[in-house]
């Protein structure tokens, strides 16, 4: 197909502005209108530039999504623009995070992701949480309703406060975590409000929630009701712009008289708790030969001891302590790896661990790459130093 031949005289005529003695032309009306946006090759190259380094490097794998911030000076003004602000929400979607000790769990973050799904179309996400939480704005709370802190263990008082908040504010959906603590709270709230609870939802969209029933033989589905509790790893956490986390007023709680006279927590004995359930695991690999010192360290840290397959094969640690694909898959919050290279079979066992600390002599070990804090040092020097430091403190 050949290109259309241009007719400059006709184009000029089309640009002429009528009237006036002198001929006048306007280019505005005649600019070619095309549906395709015009490419800007310079800006595209700019977006592919990898920050740092003296030589320009282009990263052609990133497909436009996230633009690396190159200029430090411009980034603050950009980030202030990127706050999500909902001034007049049409409705509210409440999230009641578990947040043991003020720290949001991965499931809590997923709850915020689910809430943003439900809040699409003019809604705002309200976090109902005790004050003193880390970064509620970052995980996606448009509003924060500060619940009165319950000093001792009194689930009924907390349920009463949540139920009251749900009644008094215009809340369309409330999301709970289907965990021991959150599931208990959700059911108490449901019983208080006399409403059904969609317990243990496994998938969630604005139109449909599903849950297993009858011993996981059937799937129940319906439009999301007001109270929903969500199981872990079913919805992605919120990944959008930071929210404003504006505080809202909640009604003062009504004092309740509980039947609970006293409550005390008995911590699990780290030496006997099963490895898969342990909260904090200290693990030794082939780089550790001083096993008694390692076990002392585990005791001093009050952590559960684990090991890589090399140590278990060598008979230095019991097989029950093996971490990894053919050992135990951990559910721990924190993993301290001493002298472990980080073979894929080993890393599979710690995919669920949020925090990893590695001590290794090899800077290029895979475990060092995986770790949040990596120490390149001899484990045999660090272990006694750790024990000494733990003994020194009050």
């Amino acid at each position: 197909m050949s290109r259309l031949r241009r007719d400059p005289r006709a184009e000029r005529e089309a640009m002429r502005i009528a009237g006036g003695a002198r001929p006048r032309f306007s280019r505005e009306a005649s600019l070619p209108v095309s549906a395709r946006p015009r490419r800007d090759p310079r800006a595209e190259i700019e977006a592919l530039l990898v920050p740092g380094g003296t030589r320009p490097r282009l990263d052609r794998l990133s497909r436009g999504g996230v633009r690396p911030v190159r200029d430090e000076a411009t980034s603050p003004s950009e980030s202030t623009v990127q706050t999500r602000i909902v001034t007049e929400p049409a409705f509210l979607v409440a999230v009641v995070p578990d947040a043991p000790g003020g720290r949001l769990t991965p499931l809590d973050r997923q709850l915020f992701g689910a809430a943003h799904l439900l809040a699409a179309g003019g809604g705002a996400v309200l976090a109902l949480a005790e004050p003193g939480h880390d970064d509620l704005a970052g995980v996606g709370a448009d509003r924060v309703g500060p619940l009165a802190a319950v000093a001792d263990y009194d689930p009924e008082a907390r349920a009463a406060a949540v139920a009251q908040a749900l009644e008094s504010l215009n809340i369309r959906h409330a999301l709970f975590a289907e965990t021991a603590e959150g599931g208990d709270l959700a059911r108490r709230v449901a019983a208080r409000l006399g409403e059904p609870l969609f317990a243990g939802a496994e998938s969630l969209t604005p139109k449909l929630v599903t849950r297993p029933a009858r011993g996981r033989r059937v799937e129940q589905r319906r439009a999301p009701p007001r109270l929903v509790s969500l199981v872990a790893d079913s919805v992605a956490p919120y990944g959008g712009a930071s929210c404003e986390a504006r505080a809202v007023e909640l009604p003062a709680p009504v004092p309740t008289t509980g039947a609970i006279l006293s409550a005390e927590i008995i911590l699990a004995d780290p030496a006997t708790v099963p490895l898969g359930e342990a909260e904090f695991v200290v693990s030794a690999g082939n780089g550790v030969s001083d096993i008694p010192s390692f076990l002392d360290l585990a005791r001093a840290l009050r952590a559960t001891p684990g090991a890589s397959r090399m140590l278990c094969d060598a008979g230095l640690m019991p097989r029950a302590a093996q971490v990894g694909a053919s050992g135990t898959v951990l559910g721990a919050t924190c993993y301290l790896a001493l002298g472990i290279a980080g073979a894929p079979q080993h890393l599979q066992g710690i995919t669920g661990c949020e925090h990893v600390v590695a001590v290794n002599t090899d800077l290029h070990a895979a475990m060092v790459e995986r770790a949040g804090l990596a120490i390149i040092a001899d484990a045999h020097a660090v272990m006694p130093a750790l024990i000494a430091a733990l003994e020194d403190e009050p």
């Binding site: 720290r103 021991a180 059911r187 029933a213 509980g258 770790a371």
Partner: protein, 256 residues
């Protein structure tokens, strides 16, 4: 002490055949250990009494079966009978298996009866003057010891002591009392049911446009939290850094 254990119409998760829910049998054992065999009554509301009958063999002496039609709401009947029996303690399973499986009934019942409810009991001990010491199972093997004023309702956690073994003689000896109750049709729900289909679990968050290699990496390695690297520090400094980091995460417990 009079204890009522609630039994649901359990079904085996694999075969679908009627069978008692394991955690309810554990509740029965807790009740027997606390109050003796004669003080424990089983209560079941449902159309047929297949599964709860097995509980007789696991050490239940007396079962009250409230007969109702399929799909009726068991809550009013249970509440009425429990008000009549007025037990000091009511035990229930944590979550049923074979029905709605929502675990809401004990809470609704407690609300209706005006009793406090405590979830996830793992062991029970009698306290003095009308109190009960409950060890509550928490995640990660921890326990919470709660002292509770009776009467109360408890749900039992699978971490409780295992159920008593089934004996045929006990199953023969146990008595069942059947009562007919006024029908209470359940409120219509807009729930739709289908065959269960396992949903893919979210494994890791790779960026939406990421390449296959990146997605594999995200799935197998999880996110590293923007690691800090210390090369060849003095052992004391390394120890200090590690402890500070652990304390920041909040896994390090104070001793004592």
């Amino acid at each position: 002490m009079k204890i009522v254990v609630l039994f649901s119409a359990g079904r085996h998760p694999a075969s679908g055949a009627p069978c008692p829910v394991p955690v309810e049998l554990q509740a029965l054992r807790l009740a027997r250990d606390l109050a003796g065999a004669d003080e424990v009554i089983g209560l079941h509301a449902g159309p047929v009494d297949g599964a709860p009958l097995d509980a007789l063999g696991h050490g239940l002496g007396r079962l009250i079966h409230l007969r109702m039609a399929q799909g009726d709401d068991p809550l009013p009947a249970l509440a009425q009978v429990l008000e009549e029996l007025a037990p000091d303690l009511i035990l229930a399973g944590r979550i049923g298996q074979g029905g709605e499986d929502g675990g809401l009934l004990p809470y609704a019942l407690a609300r209706r009866l005006g009793r406090p409810i405590l979830a996830d009991a793992a062991s029970l001990g009698a306290g003095d003057d009308g109190t009960l010491t409950v060890e509550q199972a928490l995640p990660r093997g921890a326990r919470r010891r709660v002292v509770l004023r009776l009467p109360a309702l408890l749900t039992v956690h699978p971490a409780a002591a295992p159920a008593l073994p089934f004996t045929f003689a006990a199953a023969r000896r146990g008595t069942v009392e059947r009562r007919d109750i006024a029908p209470a049709p359940a409120a219509a729900s807009e729930m739709e049911e289908r065959a269960y289909r396992p949903r893919p679990k979210l494994i890791a968050r790779a960026a939406p446009g990421a390449s296959a290699a990146e997605r594999l990496k995200a799935a197998t390695q999880a996110a590293s939290s923007g690691g800090r690297l210390l090369v060849d520090p003095a052992p004391e400094e390394a120890a200090r850094e590690i402890l500070a980091h652990l304390r920041g995460i909040g896994v390090l417990r104070r001793r004592g």
